[in-house]
Subunit: 448 residues, 2 copies
């Protein structure tokens, strides 16, 4: 998709006004989430790789400019400016996979005001989708307690892009693979799948369908056993399992997709074990999410692996992040950066150029974050790294595998309560003395 | 985005098994929604245009086949089959903008089983996003009682595609425009916008920012008045309104984005009118949805137009449809179509090739729908039309404007209770005698 026009119209009208009145002004914007969605104690950053690609390649094509000209609102001069447009600013960002909290800038743009404004919509859009899905997937993976989780969301994600990017984001957050073949091709996410009810129904009976599948993929067969009657389906799967064994193969698994998954999985485990098929895995699907998985495991369901679709891929209980892009400083006539803030009711912002510091305790666990002014002398590890300098990429994105490994380790460096899926834990994010002082003084000055 | 691999892996594994065992089998699949989401009494179909484009252009590229080959699971023969793949079946569908209900097929595929299976994921994915957003937008438009509604969702939709397709779907369902410039370019949806808080904050004070904007766009100025203090912001807007009038222009509007929108809009209306600026419109934004709009209008808020973002573009209270793609008939060894159904608990389906009939009463209003077998002699208007015949397009999609006009009229042909936004109305969808009989007989036969 051509991305230069993937922006809100007002970015361009404001840009033309800046072009006339604020041509040489620079500004800093913070991209952050105003509040955590329901059930969430933390979020997982994703989307930076696409954001960097967008910023690097952002150009308005002749076609784009032709469309804009037809709006009869943009000046010749401004359209000429757009024809040479290139992002030349600085970007600081948390790496993909980093854990972050409300009010913490995950990305900071310092650039000419026109450039900084024009990239707003695409940055928000990209970050919103990928971090939303990564954050949801991390919860599902934690709930599965080490059992593999697969992303099966494609059919109900918000379009093709959401399916592909969602598969990548889920994998980044710890999922073990996806059903989305295009995500496999584009991002080397392992692809996986079983069979559909329609496959079973296409044959004269269930056993015949199982047989056909097993003969096609003797090393890769997972049989869906609930099309007609689950208990009978398990028996048919056992028949196939024994047949495969005779031929020197192994039935990989069965899939349960409806009914009482806890009870049926126990039934299946007993039957499979009795038949000498203890190695056959039990996969569960069917409107699963982290809450249902937790309950299934509390009931000691004999499930080895979970396929999670819609609820993960649409982040169904929080289908967006309250992500915003807010001005925090702007240059005056002497090109000096002046901190600014918004005073709108319940939507005030933190002024100035900021950094997030993460403080580790003696046991090695993270204790708290501190939102501070960039220059402040505060302990802890700064989370925002410079990734683009004057438009030039100075950051090498780690591989998706590396990011995934980082997430796996990093999550467990937080107090364990953070991983509770009901979102009861309140990880402390302190405001530094310097930032508090600046905010207070500035809001006083503005109100007077 | 290259769409051929936008499918679930299991479509391809099943396809290879069909290729070996069911090469000459044909089948019919229904695409339908199992149940209506919360608050919804009806849904609005969208996505057919993209589905037709997908089916027409569906080819596996060399690159795609190379990726599949690397999976070491597909046979040479099957990959060769894929290299010549083309959808050659029939499609029946409801036109875009049609109102539909639970269990009604909105699209029916009859094709070779491999072709019918391979297109599943993309059909579901496309239909889900666009119908979900169109259905939500129709509700918002109805709640606004004739006042224009604009789509401002781009920054929080699930990625770029969801932003663009969502803008089109909202417009189709009656919205008056979008902030998404790319949707404007691609679909000629009118684009619109105001200004951001950051714009106001970039200038020395609010008045100066308003002045700059009004001088840039004297005919197109909408001023955001809540950055610091809304009452003062309205006064500043009045100053600009009078100034513009002096120069022979008109201030187009002001925008309220926070606080008590009902009270503030009344305050703004009084102030503007007193200043002789009765023609200046009041726009409201800020986390709006159909419920908030209804309440604002009940309080007689003086709002002329609504900008609706996240809640509409993500269909936040129902961020997916329970849309499925189910086998309803399959050919036997004599190429005769045999109706089939699924018996899984709480997920049984309707067998056979079906049509949906909409019955109109004497007053011209729709009374009920009837889900029937295709051949049945039932009154009412058949809603499924043949759009693709043996792979050939035989349907000309109407223009987006025409579809939008159709939605506007069509919604009001239903009993008025249907448009209640709390979803209290239960529009009757009857099952025809023939279909009921078939289902009963088939399920009896299967259980025995």
């Amino acid at each position: 998709m051509d991305n230069a026009l993937l922006l809100d119209f007002y970015e361009l009208t404001m840009a033309q006004s800046y072009f006339l009145y604020k041509r040489n002004t620079s500004a800093t914007f913070d991209l952050f989430v105003r509040g955590l969605p329901p059930n969430r104690s933390y979020l997982v950053a994703a989307g930076l790789e696409d954001i960097l690609g967008y910023l690097r390649n952002l150009r308005f094509s002749k076609d784009d400019l032709g469309y804009l000209k037809k709006q009869k609102i943009f000046s010749q001069d401004f359209l000429k400016y757009l024809s040479n447009f290139k992002f030349r600013g600085d970007i600081w960002a948390m790496p993909e996979g980093e854990v972050f909290f409300a009010n913490e800038p995950v990305l900071r743009v310092t650039a000419n005001i026109i450039e900084a404004q024009i990239v707003e919509s695409c940055l928000l859009n990209t970050f919103n989708l990928q971090s939303m899905v990564a954050s949801k997937a991390a919860r599902v993976v934690v709930a599965a307690q080490g059992r593999p989780v697969y992303d099966f969301a494609l059919r109900r994600t918000h379009g093709a892009g959401a399916g592909v990017k969602g598969a990548r984001s889920s994998y980044l957050a710890g999922a073990s693979g996806t059903s989305c073949v295009l995500a496999g091709k584009l991002y080397s996410v392992p692809i996986t799948g079983t069979m559909a009810h329609s496959f079973v129904m296409t044959f004269k009976n269930e056993l015949e369908s199982f047989l056909a599948y097993a003969e096609t993929f003797p090393q890769k067969t997972i049989l869906l056993v609930d099309t007609y009657n689950t208990a009978a389906g398990i028996e048919n799967a056992i028949t196939i399992g024994l047949l495969l064994r005779e031929k020197g193969f192994k039935l990989q698994g069965i899939r349960l997709d409806s009914g009482d998954l806890a009870a049926l999985s126990k039934l299946a485990r007993v039957k499979l074990n009795r038949a000498g098929l203890a190695e056959v895995k039990i996969y569960a699907t069917g409107n699963l999410d982290e809450f249902k998985i937790k309950k299934l495991l509390e009931k000691e369901a004999c499930i080895d692996s979970f396929g999670v679709g819609t609820n993960m891929g649409t982040s169904i209980d929080a289908p967006c992040l309250d992500v915003v892009y807010k001005l925090s400083e702007v240059t005056d006539e002497n090109s000096k950066f002046i901190p600014v803030m918004k005073l709108s009711k319940a939507k005030t912002t933190f002024p100035g150029r900021k950094q997030v510091f993460r403080v580790r305790g003696k046991q090695g666990k993270f204790l708290r974050d501190i939102l501070a002014l960039e220059g402040e002398n505060i302990g802890g590890k700064p989370l925002l790294k410079k990734v683009i300098s004057c438009g030039r990429m100075i950051y090498h994105s780690p591989s998706l595998e590396k990011t995934r490994d980082f997430v796996k380790e990093n999550l467990f460096r937080f107090p364990s309560g953070l991983l509770d899926i009901y979102g009861t834990y309140n990880y402390p994010v302190a405001i530094s003395p310097g930032l508090r002082r600046l905010k207070l003084n500035l809001s006083r000055a503005m109100r007077s």
